[in-house]
Amino acid sequence: MSETADRVKKIVVEHLGVEADKVTEDASFIDDLGADSLDIVELVMAFEEEFGVEIPDDAAEKITTVKDAISYIDEHKG
């Protein structure tokens, strides 16, 4: 597992208060992890802070699974 994936999963576990083993790469934030739209906004803010990337609104809207987040961050982090 990549370092990005570890850190993303840690943030998701902390913010959504879910069990770590539920946070698989295919897990959907809303459908599988019980997030609401405000949780997603918060997660995106947390990712931006953790990785020093900027995730614009149109990109954020496409991030629906854990894998989406990891891929976006890996592609855009400095």
Partner: protein
């Protein structure tokens, strides 16, 4: 009760009549303030008169970029946290609707409503992180009752109420409350110069028999900003001596 020690607040229109009363009330309960206003000299004089460790952040609320920069400036000046946002700044450009110019409409909506939205949007970020926030917008009795010559102003003030209700629902789960205070007629430099006949006519409409004072508004804001008011959100607290009971 209503102790604001250790809390920080951004107050717009802070050197104005009602704004200065709000600032004094919040500071009196122990909050540390970022005071914003359009007139830098007046603002600085007010900041100095308040004493304490408050900061003055002049800002033109009709300029979107300046407004967007205000919350980050306040957060930085206040040591990284913003607990309370008071949208108090407001302007009037009164005219009968049929005579109202586009810029009279635009200016009032931009300063009274759009700037408030921009500030809440920016403030929601640090408040969400902190899992605590209090937003209080100063609306007006005329936002509910209407007033001839103030189509723009009444629309902007009613707009604040609707906006606050939507935001209250969005942010309630993060322990952020969003409320309004709606003053009636408050004693100010503007009401002091009214002719006696007009003042008396005004008073017949107010069961309390007197104009309100800035302190009456300050106290209402302190309540809604306090930890104790955490279960009150999406509400408008009318402070008007009974002139309108809504």
């Amino acid at each position: 009760m209503f102790d604001l020690s250790g809390m920080t607040a951004l107050v717009t229109g802070a050197s104005g009549g009602i704004g200065s009363s709000i600032a004094q009330a919040l500071a009196g309960q122990g909050a540390r303030l970022a005071l914003s206003g359009s007139n830098a000299d007046k603002l600085e004089a007010f900041r100095a008169s308040l004493g304490g460790d408050h900061v003055a952040l002049p800002c033109d609320l009709s300029d979107a970029a300046s407004v967007d920069a205000l919350v980050p400036r306040a957060v930085e000046a206040l040591g990284g946290r913003l607990d309370i946002l008071v949208n108090n700044a407001g302007v009037t450009r009164d005219n009968l609707a049929m005579r109202m110019k586009d810029d009279e409409w635009d200016q009032v909506i931009r300063v009274n409503l759009e700037a408030a939205f921009r500030l809440v949007r920016a403030a929601a970020k640090p408040m969400m992180k902190a899992r605590f926030g209090r937003v209080v917008s100063i609306t007006s009795v005329v936002g509910t009752t209407g007033n001839p010559g103030q189509a723009n102003y009444a629309a902007s003030k009613a707009g604040l109420v609707g906006m606050s209700k939507a935001l209250a629902q969005e942010l309630a789960s993060r322990n952020i409350t969003v409320n309004c205070v709606a003053p009636g007629f408050i004693r100010s430099a503007m009401t002091d110069v009214l002719p006696d006949a007009q003042k008396n006519a005004l008073l017949t409409r107010i069961p309390a028999g007197d104009l309100g004072r800035g302190e009456d508004i300050g106290a209402a804001v302190v309540y809604l900003a306090s930890r104790e008011a955490g279960y009150v959100t999406g509400q408008t607290l009318h402070v008007n001596g009974g002139m309108a009971m809504i």
